[in-house]
Symmetry: C2
Subunit: 339 residues, 2 copies
């Protein structure tokens, strides 16, 4: 899922996203609550109409952002008290408000409000954070059902926490599975931990989460992580890497990532990736993209975002195709069959 935090996937238009075959985008509750405000978006017909994206939208609950972006945040049982990173105004985001905001936005998939466990955390800290996440998941579900539940046109996903402790991940997945929600997300991954720990935590959760419901791994990942986690049974992922790296001149190719600012590309008339079928590789050279990047032209961000998103979406298309054909997916450190 391309990430459109503030109702825009950075540096790419909705028409281009459609042409790239993007089927769903992610938007952010915290950001849109603060600006332009969920009530304004609701009054304008909801996020689909506001952003002119007549396709699925998933909103995250804001739990991650109240910590990573806002100043003076404080967790209470009721929710999280924080100051806006925009104007310093005071707010409190609760499970009930997170659901209210997401329903006002009118997203197709909405997330329960969670307490994103930082890394590192002791097992006691991770347990406390996980149990709070469970209580907040129940309040989120109660609030969602009171507003009409699936009749609102939305599906509610719960979020598994548990830090880097597989036994907690398993317990969290069991707790949420028992709530019979529309789908399940695995949060608190890619927060600075070594790859083996996230892998083990995700595997523990996937062991327990029902296989007939969507399983969404939040905030992941690199191109090889996409392959790795799909092989483990993950259905959905979102990550800012393709778009953020594009703006920083880091381009994904079939031969690995390249940094377009590298001087060796100055006179390189070849495309970013000869094996890529995107319109940027069809039309522009590495030399031109490097020039645009060096000259800080906005077009660098535009073209490079297009290319990187094509790479990511194409990887996912190939994985889907391999699964449909029953082929084996590559997996670092061994080969496991497609689920």
């Amino acid at each position: 899922m391309p990430v459109g935090t503030r109702a825009s996937v950075k540096a790419i238009s909705q028409g281009e996203l459609e042409a790239l075959g993007a089927e769903i985008i992610l938007a952010n509750t915290y950001h849109l609550y603060l600006r332009p405000g969920h009530e304004l978006i609701r009054d304008l017909g909801g996020l689909h109409r506001f952003a002119s994206w007549p396709h699925p939208i998933l909103t995250d609950s804001g739990g991650f952002q109240v910590f990573s972006l806002s100043a003076l945040n404080k967790i209470e049982e009721q929710g999280v008290r924080f100051r806006s990173h925009l104007d310093g105004s005071q707010h409190m985001l609760t499970p009930e408000l997170a659901i209210e905001v997401q329903l006002a936005l009118g997203a197709d998939i909405i997330m329960a409000f969670d307490d994103c466990t930082p890394y590192p955390a002791t097992v006691e800290q991770a347990r406390a954070s996980m149990e709070r996440t469970h209580r907040w998941a129940e309040r989120s579900a109660t609030s969602w059902r009171a507003s009409g539940g699936s009749e609102t046109g939305s599906a509610l996903f719960g979020i598994v926490q548990g830090g880097m402790y597989p036994e907690l991940r398993r317990e969290s997945a069991q707790f949420l599975a028992a709530m019979t929600l529309s789908g399940y997300a695995i949060g608190g991954v890619s927060v600075g931990e070594p790859r083996e720990l996230s892998l083990a935590a995700v595997e523990a959760a996937l062991d327990v989460l029902p296989k007939d419901k969507p399983r969404y791994l939040m905030g992941v990942g690199t191109p090889d992580e996409l392959v790795q986690y799909v092989a483990l049974g993950v259905d959905m992922m979102d990550c800012v890497l393709p778009t953020r790296n594009a703006r920083n001149g880091l381009l994904f190719t079939s031969q690995g990532p390249i940094s377009i600012k590298n001087a060796r590309f100055a006179g390189d008339s070849g495309p970013v990736d000869p094996a890529c079928g995107c319109t940027v590789c069809a039309r522009y050279s590495r030399a031109y993209l490097r020039h645009l990047y060096q000259a800080r032209e906005i077009l660098a961000a535009q073209l490079q975002t297009h290319h990187n998103l094509h790479q990511y979406l194409d990887t996912m298309r190939q994985l889907r195709h391999a699964i449909e054909l029953g082929r084996t997916l590559p997996e670092p450190g061994g080969s496991s069959p497609a689920r």
Copy 2:
């Protein structure tokens, strides 16, 4: 002509420019000479291939930029000595080098090197600057012819100077007309002077310049100036206004310009201009564009650039159509027939 100073019309792709019906873009000798270098672009097959723009390109001679952008510039009879605004390196741009750079870039229309007269200037200063421009035009033409002239695939335009003195403008136009160049430009306009002065200066030059050759007014202008100058007989104009204003949230509409950041657009579900046929007006609301602008999303620059360029190109299309039909063009302060 949309302005693509550094081989990119800011915030819009070449494919979009083609879809908008842009037939020619302008690129800048000074900027491309400094970065990435005209020799690199020549070695990569020229500017058309480098920028993937297989349509006409006009390059200006750099005379304006060595003054407006570089530090420590100094006019000598030989040329202009300056320090790069990028790295402080010392250079001297001469008529001969300006032609060499433009031929290396491979532009379709290239400009003689000129001394852009500032405003205000005494009649003596304006005359000295004009006469230098004439000597430099002769050196530019000699250099161009020695390199093959029109056999290089390029057309050389001379630039009329003369400040805000109609008699000097007339004299400059006569001098250049006698050189029988491929076309003629009027420079040194829109440099801070009141509109009446530029109008009078341009009219004086147009009186003299041959009507069977392209007449290009440099660096102009607002939408009403487009109409005004076409009515006077101008064939070509370039201006950063549509693209620069777009990035600053100032949008041109059939009802005049609007500032999209204005709070009254926060909940406005209508298009930027209901009378506009562009894809941005077809798909997005003022409320969404205002949100993107307030959130400093790159997409704001992209969509707004698209809209403003559509407005400008559409104005020129309508003017061409009116001329073909022999209709009267509107002109502030009176009505004059299409030429």
